[in-house]
């Protein structure tokens, strides 16, 4: 049910034309309002405080749909941020800064903040604690290194510090949400690639009939399925850093192959600005390296295992323990 209503919402308010417009102007108000009205944005807030009182894994279908429509906002990050008392209701989108707040000659600066162009607030480390900073007084500087929707954010030296937030693991949350987004986008890329292979003809027949194409798309489907299930593991084990590490590492690795095969099958048309493929594949390229790539999270995971006395199987079982086995079946 949640999945159907999310699907409908994004299909109406997050079409390719909306995504393109948001990329040009940073404008996301209609989509954000719809997400608030649907109850998705405050879904983790307890019912007593006006939210839906759900847990993050319940929202997996909504977050995957956001990825599948290249939603131009940090939905998962905002949903978690709304559980912070410091974040006012009706606060707009909340981005997470991957690096610390730095003092420069021009002012106080956050570099390369994903979704910095569309956010109303950003959560950032400065220097020891995490703070909530409003973007009202900030200068938003889009740059090629910040990505499609990302930006450098600059405040005057005398800008207030912002309120402290309770959670201290925002970098990891940013990584997990990018993994979930990528898994959603990969599902959409698989659909697009299958459809294109069946319609595109070469050598007198649909390229889908070529074994070489079938083998590539078969492999692509494997990576999509693996990405989705490891993203679910990350959401189910939300409080476990190793579950997030598994999700970000595994999904990022899958994203490389999925993006490559999607482009290989689409051929030259997929390289054009006009074709929608790039709305997804460029986001994969960015999300893969946002908040740590595979190497970083693999190292974290390896160190976490070495710091226990667990066998590798015991370690894996402890991470998935939060996902209940359907033992009654």
């Amino acid at each position: 049910m949640l999945e159907e209503s999310a699907k409908q919402l994004f299909a109406t308010h997050c079409k390719a034309e909306h995504v393109r417009k948001a990329q040009q102007t940073g404008e996301i108000e209609t989509l954000l309002n719809e997400l608030v009205h649907a109850g998705f944005v405050d879904a983790l807030v307890p019912e007593a405080d006006g939210g839906a009182g759900l847990s993050l894994i319940d929202l997996a279908p909504v977050l995957f749909q956001a990825g599948a429509h290249a939603a131009p906002l940090p939905l998962g990050d905002t949903i978690v941020a709304r559980t912070e008392p410091a974040v006012p209701s009706g606060s707009g989108a909340v981005a997470i800064a991957p690096g610390p707040l730095e003092t420069t000659a021009k002012g106080r600066m956050l570099s390369n903040v994903p979704f910095g162009r569309v956010a109303s607030y950003v959560i950032a480390r400065s220097p020891a604690d995490w703070h909530l900073l409003p973007l009202e007084e900030a200068t938003v500087l889009a740059s090629p290194s910040s990505g499609i929707l990302g930006a450098d954010l600059l405040w005057p030296h005398d800008a207030p510090n912002g309120l402290t937030v309770e959670r201290q693991d925002w970098f990891r949350i940013g990584a997990l949400m990018r993994a979930v987004e990528m898994a959603g986008a990969m599902g959409r890329l698989l659909e697009m690639t299958v459809a294109y292979a069946m319609e595109r003809e070469q050598f007198g027949r649909a390229i889908a009939k070529q074994q070489a194409i079938q083998q590539q798309i078969g492999e692509m489907a494997e990576h999509c399925y693996a990405a989705r299930i490891s993203a679910e593991l990350g959401l189910a084990g939300f409080t476990d850093p190793s579950a997030s590490a598994i999700a970000k590492s595994r999904v990022s690795e899958a994203a490389v192959r999925v993006g490559a095969i999607a482009h290989a099958v689409h051929g030259a048309i997929g390289i054009t600005e006009e074709h929608d493929l790039q709305l997804y594949t460029r986001r994969l390229v960015e999300a893969r390296i946002a908040y740590g790539g595979e190497s970083y999270w693999n190292r974290e995971l390896g160190q976490a295992l070495l710091n226990t006395t667990d066998s590798s199987m015991e370690f894996v079982l402890s991470v998935s323990a939060r996902k209940k086995m359907p033992i009654d079946l």
Binding site: I217, I229, S230, L233, E253, L301, S311
Partner: protein, 339 residues
Amino acid sequence: MGFSAEFSRKMAEKGWLGLSIEKQYGGQEAGFFRRYVIVEELLAAGAPVSAHWIADRQSGPLIQRYGSEEQKQRYLPGICAGQSFFCIGMSEPNAGSDLASVRSRAEKTVGGWLLNGQKIWTTNATRSHYMIALVRTSGSAADRHQGLSQFVIDLSAPGVEIREIKDLNGDAHFSEVFFKDVFLPDDTLIGDEGAGWEQVTAELAFERSGPERILSSIVVLEGWLNWLRATPQSHDEKLGRAIAHLATLRELSISVTARLAAGESPIVQAAIVKDLGTSFEQELPVMIADALTADPRLQPPRSLMETTVFVAGAAPSYSLRGGTREILRGMIARGLGLR
């Protein structure tokens, strides 16, 4: 996977075999997930589970699903007691990936069928009591999926001859099996005559999705982890990647088991698990062999080197047995509507 009839009987005494088989046939009726949990522990510990493995994983569930009442009473109690061992009669010399082209043929005769032909690459044939074989009962190889049936063949019957084949590591775990005028009584036909293809396809979903499709090389990973703890080195990243893959594969395998348990036949999902799982099992010994020799000043434990080399040698078979990589990807493509 080691073979020990005694270990299998002890498993049965503990009530750890026939977990998905009904109680009236000697099973536990405990469901697929209890089996999953137990099997996972056994594999991670490297237990000698080979004797009962095929019977417990697929022959028992197959007979329970398609067998007659009389057949269930005849075969299932022995499987659950760890006393009847089964092997799988699918591949033939000219029917490997192209399984539908099997030529072993059973001709109708009074009171039963007369079987002639040959199977190959049959794991544990010399040590099993029964084979469930896919054979042609009507038409010709050109009829493809039509005219195939499954029989339970008593391997002690006259006319059955088994010859072991040594593998590249020097072990003889698989064999050739010859049938010359082997009489198969009517009541050894499993399910419907001519429905063999559909039944074998359902059976393969059990064969392709279990934890053994992930854990064939796990003993190398555990050995390496122990050495890394004893002799710290900078391989955290490689270790972490293995864990990310292992955890994901386990979730995939469990999700397919859930579908099997719900009575579905998740053929495409099982193919996905098998291809990803065997890719991981094949990469593991390659990666670890490199890591073990990354610093010539360090001497890895001899037994770990031996195991790694042994597994690396056997690993190419992982993506052959139970369906090759190309066949599996073709099945996934078909599931997506591409063919």
